[in-house]
Symmetry: none
């Protein structure tokens, strides 16, 4: 097992050896993998290829400015969280205000635990932003597989575990007609020991809870599907 990838890789672009060593020490202690680059060009290419979960950028760097790296990444559509790291307060003005798409900044000298806390916060936020987009939406019905919440017309609806799994599976395959046998093996489990009529009952439950906005359509003789037009 490689200890590097437990929590993901942090890319540190910093030319002062004393600082990068410190960052490596404290971040790896927290379970992050750490890759250090000491000049801007190498840092940019590492950011493009290594897919780090966050990047710590020194503002003053040889060969390419830290702000320049961030700007290029953003222009390429790369929104990996970036923490700027700067010695002078007057540099702060250039990175905050999000003109560069920075997520946070640190001023030297900094305490290692402060850095760790901010890195974790930034990574957490990025993960959250990425995962909150995973909601399945069909008409008025919204199903979030991560939070396991269902809303219909803005109102939250309580589903049981089986009901949720069933609705999620139908919405994930929206438009496709799924047979009861398919639903049983894919929602209930590989070896479904329950009768196929059980599906009907749960479909009815879900429909009752979703009310008029239920997207579940019955395909007589075949099975069920989730779609907009009833």
């Amino acid at each position: 097992m490689s200890p590097d990838s437990v929590k993901g890789l942090i890319l540190v672009v910093e030319d002062e050896r004393a600082i990068s060593d410190l960052l490596r020490l404290y971040l790896s202690r927290e379970g992050f993998g750490v890759q250090v680059e000491s000049d801007g060009v190498a840092g940019l290419s590492a950011a493009r290829t290594l897919h780090p979960v966050a990047i710590i950028l020194d503002v003053g760097l040889p060969s390419m400015d830290g702000t320049e790296i961030c700007r290029k990444l953003r222009a390429e559509g790369n929104w990996t969280p970036v923490l700027f790291c700067t010695a002078r307060d007057d540099e702060v003005d250039r990175v905050v205000g999000l003109e560069l798409g920075a997520d946070d900044y640190i001023t030297k000298p900094f305490s290692p635990r402060e850095v760790v806390a901010r890195v974790k916060a930034v990574v957490r936020r990025a993960v959250q932003a990425a995962s909150s987009t995973g909601a399945l939406v069909l008409g008025e019905v919204s199903v979030d597989p991560v939070t396991r919440r269902v809303t219909v017309a803005g109102e939250q609806v309580q589903l049981t575990a089986t009901e949720f799994d069933l609705l999620e599976h139908l919405m994930a395959n929206q438009g496709r007609v799924l047979s009861r046998e398919q639903l049983l093996s894919e929602v209930w489990g590989y070896a479904a020991i329950v009768g196929t009529r059980t599906v009907d009952v749960h479909v009815a439950q879900v429909r009752a809870k979703l009310g008029d906005h239920s997207p579940i359509r019955t395909v007589r003789g075949v099975g069920y599907s989730a779609e907009l037009e009833p």
Copy 2:
């Protein structure tokens, strides 16, 4: 380099062409990308798919009220900053008070620079709130991973090591439903040799210590998650 994505995208939902043109002009001059939708339904779907950094919503809209859009997004767990935009003062009462999760509001007529300033402020606030403190906050409960302190409604609460790790992990993944197996492997360790019921007991302990403000929700048949709404 596409100038649109330097600072992120602002979604404007506004049916009066004169106003949306003005907003587009001034916001894009500031480096934001701008997407305009002129009716509520299209606006809602754009908000779901485009992942804007902020949304400007007209309160009076054809096909769907601006407040309705905001309410639905919030119900789906989408907390993108929203600025309401309204012509009449009496409408203001409906959006402020944050019952709708609005971040700010503007009354027509407005000066373009005022709008720009508020948008920038709202975006900055959202980013700062998520990344600057390092503490995990959810309702009245605050968990600081660095100092390992927990406060509920301002009062400090003593948690044991396991209890703290459990709560921290749940809050770090707030909203996400975690199974007992996940919690065991991620909180107890990679090779957890303890029974899954152990999780229940510690959850109960944490709940007892947090009292009425406990953010831990049990998702029957699945696991636990930390969130505001019970």
